[in-house]
Amino acid sequence: MADVRPPAPGSVLVSDWHRCKESKEFFNKILHKKMRKNFGLLESPVMPPQVAVDTVHYKIFISGKSGVGKTALAARLAGLSIPNLHYETTGIETSVVYWPVKLKDSGRVLFFRLQLWDCGENALRRFDHLLPSCKEQVDAVLFLFSFTDRTSFDDLSNQIAKWMVPPVSPVVKLVVGTKFDLFMHCDVAERDVKLFQERWRLPLLRVGGEVGDGLGDIAPVLNCLAEQLWHQDCVTAGSAGIHTQETETLL
């Protein structure tokens, strides 16, 4: 099946919704004393009964060379404390992110439950069963490279190509460049990034540095991911002949 063309940013979801006043009551559910709330698997954000909100579940795999910052990105998106030393992840670790969004056309609010799957590269190499487990029923892949590590950027094409081969069911693909703030050590030129984007036509996001307590620094990544995932679902549902309200408004 042909891959889904990524939708233009802001065409499916209300962008910067976390800044709107009306989103407060939803975002408050994922916060606790101004920090992100840590949910156990038996918990989820609960809205009052009159504002029932559906939750949609997705599995996202984080791919990238050792040391590019997979664990740090997952921790950051999930609002967990970021380890100050680099330790290798010696198996699979998943973290859950709840993220409220508003669909642009219908005005419907949804909670995205994004489960990020992070697995150390060395562990993947040493144990054969880990990669299949990460790939099982996966909905999206984040391809990470570090702006301070040229080889991690050069390796991207290889990594992405592996996910292009059929019969892999369609997965959302997103490229994230980490450590963008360390421009003194930047090893990847803007020109190369542009060429790469022209070739692969995948959304590319830059993260780094600024660890604010707010949601502003993670909103672009999470919104972009949610938008792609929702769009892909709609296209899949549409091609299977199931017409939901959302797909009609989209297609």
């Binding site: 698997l41 380890p83 290798e88 699979i92 489960q115 487990s133």
Partner: protein
């Protein structure tokens, strides 16, 4: 006098050629020449048919050596802090020996014994060893208050108010995950585990708890970690699946190739644990006290450690001392109480009480054990109780066939009352919980 915990440095080298593999701990690394000499002196001893296992410097520092599988040499160096010299060297040596043993077990847990015993490519092993640093650093820091398992090799446990319910849930959950090994951790302590879990070697139970705590502290939702069991399965990896049920409550199972993490999480976690959310919250409410609220502890008690010698489990707690507005001397901090409890445990175990034989003891260790036993025999009897009075606190230890209890009280408690306090505490807890 009892000494403050100093900083410890750990060196790892290849046993055959002395190539440094890694060093951890202490901000200032030892110079390469010193590392070389430490290895050299051990090797020299080896050539003369002598096993060098420990030495002490003039400043009260200590060095402990140990070779594992004739392949890896671990050296622990602890700097004697101010006033560090003196009678505490015995406890310090025991602590470092334990540390080396734990570090080795850690390395096996992550990499497996084969890779460590047959080092073909030193550069590769160096790279792979980096995977162990997270756990090793945790062992070195030992700042994790309230956990004594590394020292006692008994599983830090929490006695839940409703043991039957959680036990059934753990058993059922493990079985559904095709596993005989399941365990529920509340605040990092074992609240319930399957019968087979308790049959793992005590060091393994403790080590898996350390691993679970570090995974849980990261806040991640679930994990699928390949682990080798240092004694039970040092060459074949199992999968440790861990699920973060509620903040502070984690369940894990050790299993084979199935089920996948995805399947176990989506199919089993909710089914077995959703009905128990309230029960789990009751367990969480027990908190650091580790004992159900129904058991009242004497008000004049600062710290307590109770070990079940048969099941190799322990419960421990420190009471936050409440400051009397008029009382004179400043009260001890919680951290200091934990430290005193640890030190008194080491003091009693190295001098009077006997340590349970841990599995897989090396020949050197056995000689050492033999020496202690000779010493103990020197008493012509097995000591059952001991006490220690210092300026800071009073401590009392007692052992029965089944239990060992260590108690720390403020100096204000009359010495003659210590024994009654200890016997009464022991019988109170054992009667109420069957621990």
């Amino acid at each position: 006098m009892m000494l403050q915990d100093g900083s410890t440095q750990l060196l790892c080298l290849t046993a055959s050629s002395g190539v440094p593999l890694f060093t951890r701990g202490a901000s200032r690394q030892l110079p390469f020449s010193v590392i070389g000499s430490l290895n050299g002196v051990h090797m020299f001893g080896g050539g003369q048919g002598v096993v060098l296992s420990c030495c002490e410097t003039e400043g009260g520092g200590k060095v402990v050596w140990r070779v594992f599988q004739e392949s890896v040499m671990l050296i622990a160096v602890s700097g004697g802090g101010p006033g560090g010299a003196g009678s505490s060297s015995k406890e310090e040596e025991a602590r470092l020996q334990r540390l080396l043993e734990n570090v080795w077990n850690c390395m096996v847990l992550v990499l497996g014994q084969d890779e460590l015993a047959n080092m073909r490519n030193v550069e590769r092993i160096k790279r792979d060893l980096r995977s162990c640093f997270s756990l090793i650093d945790q062992l070195l820091e030992e700042r994790h208050e309230g956990f004594l398992g590394n020292l006692t090799h008994c599983a830090d446990s929490l006695l839940p108010p409703n043991p039957t319910l959680v036990q059934e849930a753990v058993d059922g959950f493990a079985q559904a995950a095709d596993s005989e090994f399941g365990c529920l951790l509340v605040h990092g302590r074992i609240a319930a585990a399957t019968e087979k879990w308790w049959r793992l070697a005590p060091q393994e139970v403790v080590l898996l708890s350390v691993l679970m705590r570090s995974l849980s502290a990261s806040g991640s939702a679930s994990c699928d970690y390949p682990v080798f069991l240092p004694h039970g399965s040092p060459t074949v990896a199992h999968r440790l699946l861990r699920f973060h049920l509620l903040p502070g409550a984690d369940v894990c199972v050790l299993c084979g190739p199935t089920p996948s993490l995805h399947r176990a999480e989506s199919g089993l976690v909710g089914r077995f644990w959703s009905p128990l959310v309230e029960t789990l919250r009751d367990c969480l409410a027990v908190g650091e006290r580790c004992l159900p609220a129904s058991i009242s502890l004497r008000p004049d008690m600062l710290a307590l450690l109770l070990i079940n010698r048969e099941t190799r489990r322990s419960v421990s707690c420190v009471r936050a001392p409440t400051n009397h507005p008029l009382s004179g001397p400043p009260l001890l901090s919680k951290a200091r109480c934990w430290e005193l409890l640890k030190l008194f445990y080491s003091f009693s175990m190295t001098r009077y009480f006997s340590q349970e034989e841990t599995l897989c003891v090396s020949p050197e260790e056995r000689t050492q054990k033999g020496n202690t036993e000779d010493f103990v025999l020197g008493f012509t009897h097995q000591p059952l109780q001991c006490y220690l009075v210092t300026e800071e606190c009073k401590s009392f230890g007692l052992q029965t066939a089944q239990h060992q209890l260590f108690l720390v009280t403020p100096p204000s408690v009359p010495t003659f009352a210590l024994r009654t306090a200890a016997t009464q505490t022991l019988s109170d807890i054992v009667t109420a919980t069957g621990f």
